[in-house]
Subunit: 332 residues, 2 copies
């Protein structure tokens, strides 16, 4: 294992500390419960709390800030944070308008975020609601998941819900628009290499020199098939076709596109993927409102990428375009 770390058991805490030291005017860390909050949370807007296993950086802590999240709870690498961690984050960012939890759909995360919500409701009278992101069209009922997995589309849900909360919407309205985003977002990814979890020290899966895992999950979970690595244009074609067929997206739809790197793939290759993906969308009569290309929801050092489409309407477009100022996502 080749990593820039000290000890595997210190990875998450030192990452959080290094992040807060990089952005001390924007972020604060609770080192005991390992959640990162805005430096100055606003108690008069709906509070948005997300998180999950670490290893998906910049998700989720990189999206803490104006127009997106209020707190991100950092579990161990690829392991859900505990109910207690999430509970403490809910209390630390408590707001008079209540709290929305944005949870990626994995069994462990759902259980622990739900447990935290219940504690906060019952013991502290916090108004807590949850949405569960399940955008991965590759497989249903995979390793770690009942139903579809939550992957890079979660970033769009952060953005949409975050903008609504910042505008002062109440909890039912923020939850409703977050659920609308969940219902309209679809992703699919593929891996060229495995990732290596620090505590394990060896690759999560073996893969041949000429092969890819098509439909991979962001923890290296198996996808649809193991097969020969295809050229970029073919990868884009298959991914776009799978996404369009699933929702389905139709001619005349307008979308936001996220071409996401899984951690070990150069930006250069993501742009090559986008080159074909954007042509295919145009050919299908689908309008591209906005494109994001980069590492937004990674799987440690995995080489690979995913493509996400979000079907927009006027409301979602306005919220997507609203300003955001986080350490990983900024727009005016």
């Amino acid at each position: 294992m080749k990593k820039i770390i000290n000890k595997p058991e210190q990875v998450v805490l030192e990452m959080c500390q290094g992040m807060v030291k990089a952005y001390p005017d924007k972020l604060a860390l609770d080192p005991k419960y390992r959640f990162i909050t805005r430096k100055d949370p606003n108690p008069r807007k709906v509070s948005l709390v997300s998180g999950g296993g670490s290893g998906h950086e910049p998700a989720h802590a990189g999206y803490v800030g104006t127009g997106m999240l209020d707190a991100a709870v950092c579990g161990d690498v690829f392991a859900s944070p505990s109910s207690t961690q999430v509970y403490k984050a809910i209390l630390a960012t408590r707001s008079e308008k209540g709290t929305l939890l944005i949870v990626k759909n994995y069994t462990g995360d759902c259980m622990n975020f739900d447990g935290a919500a219940e504690m906060a409701r019952e013991d502290d009278d916090v108004d807590v609601e949850s949405v569960y992101v399940n955008d991965d069209v590759a497989v249903k009922d995979s390793l770690y998941t009942a139903g579809r997995r939550g992957v890079a589309g979660t970033v769009f849900v952060h953005k949409i819900a975050g903008a609504a909360a910042e505008l002062g919407w109440d909890l039912p309205a923020v939850k409703a628009v977050a659920e609308k985003a969940v219902s309209r977002v679809r992703s699919i990814g593929f891996a060229l290499t495995s990732c290596t979890v620090p505590a394990r020290g060896v690759p999560t899966f073996d893969i041949g020199e000429g092969d890819m895992e098509y439909g991979v999950g962001i923890h290296g979970e198996p996808g649809i098939s193991r097969e020969a690595l295809a050229p970029a244009d073919e990868l884009a074609s298959r991914a776009v076709a799978a996404l369009l067929a699933d929702l389905p997206f139709r001619k005349g739809d307008e979308v936001a596109v996220l071409v996401n790197g899984l951690g070990g793939t150069p930006l250069q290759e993501l742009f090559i993927l986008n080159n074909k993906a954007s042509d295919l969308l145009a050919e299908a009569g689908i309008g591209i409102h906005k494109t994001f290309v980069g590492n937004h929801m990674t799987s440690l050092d995995m080489a690979g990428a995913s493509i996400t489409l979000l079907q927009l309407d006027g409301e979602l477009k306005g919220l997507l375009d609203a300003p955001a100022d986080t350490t990983a996502f900024r727009q005016a």
Copy 2:
């Protein structure tokens, strides 16, 4: 070789096309001469043109936009763009205030940017000046370079010169402040793995499973020594010590820090590196004005990182903090 590409010889053009399709309202591409400009260049400010070999994304095209560059010229992977390419980019972003070229100090780049400057001066009467960035403290007179190499510190030079140009400074003033930034910026990096150039198809260098190349260049050029990979804290300590000793930086100095990923390293590890680096700077009595952590000047898929320090004064601080709106770097 595992890459998301079509054919190696199409990598640069398709990358440029995919980038401009992602940001059609911000960027424009000259597909013949492969340079990317702002969609609407401003002919009343000093024009800033940079570029070099591709493979360092988001450098340099990701820094084209308000407050930074006007054009980035894209050579083949790890190969300087031709004089003709640079010349065409100078003409396409011609300004009444003249043009400043920001060149990383590699023999090929210097020759071709200088040749382009001469053509534009003699044939077209463009007022062209150049600055040469040489921030890598690792080695002098390396592969591809006479003198020190230009690496991640170049991004700070883009930012400083870009802010000055946006403020309407004249060419001698923009050049002078860019040279001040060059004189005050220092970097050092290390690699855990090699990169793989698409046209070559095999890793640029072999490296043992437990080893690192300390002092590596951004094209995989040899560094100071091949040795056992050290823990993150030791890597940070050696890098910070090397940088502080070189300028030298002194107690009471104020700096900007860039912890830069070389392409294949997760953001998680960069934050772990920053965790120690920022402590070390504090212990040395050096004030951190601002920290940037991420992939800013990469070496394709190389795992590794570099640390850059820029010694600030009031003028540089103001220019560093000025707004910028590019596809890879945004601040309000």
